[in-house]
């Protein structure tokens, strides 16, 4: 679609030609994921995670539609209908465990996908909109996952809904009315459960729509690649099919195997035992924690403990929303012309710290609150914001980057030391330091 050497679709049969003349759907598919889409030849396995995210979205939609056939969104029926699915519906246990663990795997692959984009500078021009649409998908996923977790109406469902809708009440004046409006009542109740079910069913299709925009905008400049160097000639690319369909295919098999191992042999490992207790508005669980994929944000929320001009809770809520919203500005915060972290020695070090920092935040979000945990989450939260708002803009201005290969093919087909060497060990990195 984007490069002059992209092969146009040529129908191989009479029927194909007849169809293509009337509705060029085969042409669209051929140009999007077929032989007509040239892709950089040097993509590594981190580039497989976008396709994987699409696979898990499909798994969620298919299992979800069938689950919805057996689920009732009533206060008395919700919990028991989930157990009915687990006990009496044919293969219902498999559908439900696939859906619950599918959500976790969806987030795992999306997190790898996001951090891949962060490291290789995939958010930079001309791919800003791809990045921003991706963030929109991520926000929609979070909303969908949250509402889905409420549906079984267990203890964590109920109290999670209570806590998360409670965020809105942190805002002065308008906060409490917004919370009541969202819930349809003063606390999570029948109105909230029904609307969460309705929206939980709607949102995946909205996500699918934004995914189409995300892929469309990707197909204009084409994929980024580990060198971050633009595609210059046909030598730099391979057609998507059969090369990347084959690579995505076997890797998807490997990831689905990992998914099956969790689904069939440890299906509750990523969940919380309290959600097997029916919701009880009169008994607060000892530790209310969100699902694992929200834990870093939960740590950020809890890190603000002092009323400094604004109340601590408002600081926490603003910071939590801000921690994602600031990523929309990333293409302008980091305007280093070099995309790939492989050629940015200083950036690379801070990137490693950021990954550790987010893992620490995740741990702190789930840990029992003690002064040590709070202090650690405060330091980690400070680093998170400092990384994006202060360190990254400074690095992009002052960093000495390494020389880029002249093209993808020179990097991919000849000595790829610069491309693959870890921090400080590549010859050029040492030379630059000297």
């Amino acid at each position: 679609m984007s490069f002059s050497w992209a092969k146009p679709y040529q129908p191989t049969s009479e029927l194909g030609k007849w169809f293509d003349d009337r509705l060029p759907l085969p042409r669209l598919v051929y140009g999007a994921i077929g032989g007509g889409y040239p892709v950089p030849r040097n993509l590594n396995y981190f580039w497989n995670f976008g396709v994987l995210a699409g696979i898990f979205l499909m798994i969620q939609i298919i299992t979800g539609i069938v689950l919805a056939m057996h689920y009732y969104s009533s206060l008395d029926g919700a919990f028991n209908s989930v157990e009915h699915i687990m006990r009496n519906v044919n293969a219902g246990w498999m559908l439900r465990y696939a859906h619950a663990n599918g959500a976790s795997f969806f987030f795992i692959v999306v997190y790898v996908h996001i951090f891949r984009g962060l490291y290789y500078g995939s958010y930079k021009a001309p791919r800003e909109l791809i990045w921003m649409l991706g963030l929109v998908i991520y926000l929609l996923m979070m909303a969908t996952a949250f509402m889905g977790y409420v549906l079984p109406w267990g203890q964590m469902s109920y109290w999670g809904a209570q806590v998360i809708t409670g965020f809105f009440s942190a805002f002065p004046i308008v906060g409490e009315p917004i919370r009541i409006w969202l819930l349809g009542g003063y606390a999570p109740d029948q109105a909230a459960l029904t609307r969460f079910f309705s929206l939980h069913y709607l949102m995946p299709f909205v996500i699918a729509g934004v995914v189409i925009l995300h892929i469309w905008s990707l197909h204009i400049p084409g994929s980024n690649n580990p060198t971050g160097v633009d595609v210059k000639s046909e030598k730099d690319t391979l057609p998507f099919h059969p090369f990347y369909t084959a690579k995505d295919g076997w890797f998807a098999g490997a990831v689905l195997t990992a998914f099956a191992l969790v689904l069939f042999f440890a299906p509750n490992a990523l969940g919380h035992p309290d959600n097997y207790i029916p919701a009880n508005p009169l008994a607060t669980p000892a530790h209310i924690v969100p699902e694992w994929y929200f834990l870093p944000f939960y740590a950020i929320l809890k890190a603000f403990t002092i009323d400094f001009i604004l109340p601590a809770k408002l600081w926490g809520v603003l910071a939590m929303f801000g921690s994602i919203l600031l990523l929309f500005l990333l293409p302008w915060l980091d305007n280093s012309p070099v995309r790939s972290g492989n050629y940015r020695p200083v950036f690379k070090r801070f990137f490693v710290i950021l990954v550790i920092d987010v893992l620490v935040l995740g741990w702190a979000g789930g840990a029992t609150v003690t002064p040590t945990v709070v202090a650690i989450s405060q330091i980690a939260t400070a680093y998170y914001f400092a990384h994006f708002l202060i360190i990254l803009p400074l690095i992009s201005r002052h960093e000495d980057t390494l020389p880029l290969p002249s093209s993808i093919s020179t990097s991919a087909l000849h000595g790829e030391l610069q491309e693959s060497a870890p921090i400080g060990t590549s010859k050029t990195a040492t030379a630059a330091a000297e």
Binding site: A246, L261, F264, Y276, T305, A382, F385, L413
Partner: protein, 311 residues
């Protein structure tokens, strides 16, 4: 412009967090968190091995049957398993006749199923049938609380999944009742177990409203060929039974899982081979380096010749 804004936002957030951190640290120094009796004396569940553990685990049907007996004769007095139907007992190895007799037996189930008198339409009760759920021991939560000093005996259907530790937890709890250690009272004089509660270090707050349910060996008389009904054995058996009530499809899950994983591994292997095949020509061709570099080989040969090693 955007940079100035971002530096300012970053500086403000960091400042607020540093003030918060200062608050946390000074608070921790001024009033260090007190040791709690729960923190000091609560114990993690004992290890418990069951036949259903592991990826190939299967239920031990004889054990489940003994567990059902313990549940029926001991636990069912206060705890329901309202997600389990009598018909489900076929999974334990009972035949239809046995299940029918068991469900309708007035020996075990004093409480009958609510019904309507077909002649008068008045509220009535009837004996349970295999299609019915296990009857709840109390008509409602209020009655349950009234009979148990305001404590509510939880339904046990899902207890093995609803507690950290699962079956090991229920087993530990059932065998964990003991006298409150004298040492505990010395350190925490206010933590004496209140009247009507029972000390059990496996329970989260150490004091439990449930009296020890399994008190003496032989409390339940197991049939011929069963292991002796010690408290430990009964606790194990009923814990195994509660794993089944919580996850009746566990064996299906394990069996299906093995087949799915084998299929996926095979498909992945085929996929990998075709990937290798397709990419064989397109793979990066790495220029030889070090000892394999033709230039270096020539130099080496030259040096050898010079040193007279080459004959």
């Amino acid at each position: 412009m955007i940079r100035m804004f971002s530096y300012a936002a970053g500086a403000i957030l960091t400042l607020v967090l540093m003030i918060s951190l200062f608050g946390t640290v000074s608070e921790a120094i001024q009033s260090p968190p007190e040791e709690t009796v729960e923190h000091e004396y609560h114990r993690e569940a004992k290890a418990l091995k069951l036949a259903s553990d592991g990826p190939l685990g299967k239920f031990d049907r004889a054990q489940l049957q003994r567990g059902l007996q313990v549940y029926t004769e001991v636990c069912a007095a206060c705890h329901g398993i309202n997600l389990v139907s009598f018909r489900d007992l076929s999974a334990l190895g009972y035949n239809d006749g046995q299940i029918k007799a068991f469900a309708g037996s007035g020996n075990f189930w004093k409480i009958e199923v609510p019904s309507v008198n077909p002649d008068t339409g008045e509220v009535a009760t009837r004996k349970a049938t295999p299609a019915d759920r296990f009857p709840a021991p109390y008509p409602n939560d209020t009655a349950a609380r009234a009979a148990n000093r305001n404590a509510l005996p939880p339904d046990l259907s899902l207890i093995a999944k609803a507690r950290e530790g699962g079956a090991a937890y229920t087993y530990s709890l059932l065998t964990g009742y003991q006298r409150q250690p004298a040492e505990l009272l010395k350190h925490f004089p206010t933590a004496k177990t209140p009247e009507g509660l029972y000390y059990n270090p496996y329970f989260a707050n150490l004091n439990l409203a449930m009296p020890p349910p399994l008190t003496s060996d032989g409390q339940v008389s197991y049939g011929e060929g069963s292991p002796p009904a010690t408290v430990d054995q009964m606790a194990k058996d009923v814990s195994a039974f509660l794993v089944w009530t919580a996850e009746p499809k566990l064996e299906n899950r394990h069996r299906t899982g093995i087949v799915v994983v084998i299929f996926l591994l095979f498909a992945t292997m085929l996929g990998y081979l075709s990937y290798q095949n397709i990419w064989a020509e397109a793979k990066r061709k790495v220029a030889p380096k070090g000892p394999l570099d033709p230039g270096n080989q020539a130099k080496r040969a030259h040096a050898k010749r010079k040193a007279g090693m080459d004959k």
